[in-house]
Symmetry: C2
């Protein structure tokens, strides 16, 4: 086991709560369309003045408050998001000040799309084990609303904005990471993307407004994920003396109601053992898994010794999973 | 010492070589203006069809060829860049296929601006030490030409496009990282940025074409860096039984001729102990430090046992340094 202790978690939501019924009106859809299409009651959406770094900082302050953790005790800030706040500099460097972390705290970004939090946990545990740092904050945030295409129900209705944070230490090796695996399959590279925003498409290279919007080929994405998921789970658990049926609780990426149900059945997990916050949050991209983890702590579904499986897929296409003993 | 062995390095440059004399003509400047302003003889610039991921993949293939390293032996790909190829998914996931890495190789991005390679080396060493992976490839790439403002000499003439890669393993603890330090000072947050490309400014939130261009307040950046650098170097070496004067060779971020000279003098290093590729490459953002490292290997300036200081600044403002024993 790779030692890791989660000291505290926190979350933040933007100010606007938008129900699927309200979206029906906004989009001129038939009553009930958005709810049945998305499986969501409501999601939170950032107002024009709200920022991604501000939301991430609010989640981190929430975590510090809950854990009675001094800002000055944090010696690294990792920011994870599917899409960052701006092309340069890192989102992390923009979170430091609103979060109240001292100037000089190192800060950088990890980008593994919806699985950034998993990658960051594994990196944090390794950095703590190597003695590089003693206490690390991970802040996950995404404002999908800034880039969804409202003309495309499949790729817009499922998303919600949000942020979550966790503060971790090395601990005493009785808690930590029992297994971690990530696989990136470039066959899925173009099935889920925002083409502009970097060196590929911008005003200079000739971007169209649609290039700044999120695009998804849901059908092909679902097919590719289905093909890969079974073998992936087998490989994730291959070094362990127990299987997916032996974990206490599963925190899937809150990708979509259909996607989560598919993963649950594939793993052979009972519905009551899954943390499902999708109906009240939507898919919050990189903020989904840590928000669900935070909710599981807040709802006292996780205790010392609980064996948690975090699992999901991300644009890339990347599959990722982690077995965490709390 | 945190054990780390660099198995091999590689680099790649885009097809167009642009001299400062040619830039004088292109920009309608007086002969000699671009050379004296930038300190650069020539830099390489990507043609419209060339991509960041393609260049990164070429650098990685170069490293694999030099090190006789099989693509299938690499079990993690980290991509580092100041600005990525597109907002989503990660640049890393787009490098896998052109680099010839097998589908399923995990791949994600680290964004610490110009210091991404340093952050990635420390992360890689930690991931190797924790047993997560056995062989890690780091591919650094940037195409600054896609976002420089040609109306602003200070923020455009110094840049060049490029990519470099390194493949690392844990090794036997006789080589590795003697010291590593990063500090992010948000007072410098807006001194060096590309405001668009993320959730802050895009067509939906109201971006102007200039928001997609690189902006720099060189004077304030230089002043802040100067204030911080002395104390930073002291803190970097504070746990070591030797000082900056005792390293064999210094690889600074190739920020600018003036910036590099400033750092050299501050460290008290002789000009012949500095790896300076700036005149023939310009500032290649995140690709600068690994390209200079590769050149130092290629020019046989680094051997087993050489003590190398990697040091620089990045948008953020982040200061970073590493003492690496080869």
């Amino acid at each position: 086991m790779l030692s890791l202790t989660i000291l505290c978690t926190g979350k933040a939501l933007p100010s606007q709560r938008v129900s699927s019924d309200e979206l029906d009106v906004k989009l001129g859809a038939l009553p009930g369309f958005c709810r049945s299409k998305s499986g969501i009651d409501f999601r939170y959406v950032a107002a024009p003045g709200e920022t991604q770094s501000g939301l991430a900082a609010a989640a981190l302050r929430d975590a510090m408050r809950r854990g009675r953790c001094e800002a000055a005790s944090i010696d690294l800030l990792l920011s994870v998001s599917g899409v960052g706040e701006q092309a340069l500099p890192s989102t992390a460097s923009r979170i430091l000040e609103p979060a109240g972390l001292p100037a000089g705290t190192p800060a950088f970004d990890i980008n593994a799309s919806c699985l950034g939090f998993l990658a960051a946990l594994q990196l944090a545990a390794s950095l703590l084990a190597s003695g590089t740092y003693r206490r690390i904050a991970i802040a996950a945030s995404d404002l999908a609303s800034r880039g969804v295409d409202w003309d495309n129900p499949e790729a817009s209705l499922i998303f919600g904005d949000g942020a979550a944070a966790a503060i971790v230490e090395q601990g005493d090796a009785r808690t930590g990471i029992d297994a971690f695996r990530m696989e990136t399959h470039p066959a899925g590279n173009t099935l889920c993307e925002v083409r502009a925003g970097g060196t590929r498409r911008n005003p200079r290279t000739g971007a169209e407004p649609a290039d700044y919007l999120f695009r998804m080929d849901g059908r092909r994405l679902f097919r590719l994920t289905s093909e890969l998921m079974g073998g992936f789970v087998e490989r994730l658990f291959s070094g362990l003396p127990y299987g997916p049926g032996d974990v206490d609780i599963v925190i899937p990426h809150q990708a979509s109601h259909l996607g989560m149900e598919h993963v649950r059945k594939r793993l052979g997990i009972r519905p009551e053992d899954v943390v499902d916050i999708y109906r009240q949050h939507g898919n919050q991209v990189a903020a989904s898994i840590p928000t669900a983890l935070h909710e599981a702590f807040a709802q006292r579904r996780i205790f010392r010794g609980t064996r948690v499986l975090l699992i999901g897929t991300a644009a890339g296409l990347t599959l990722g999973g982690m077995v965490l003993v709390i």
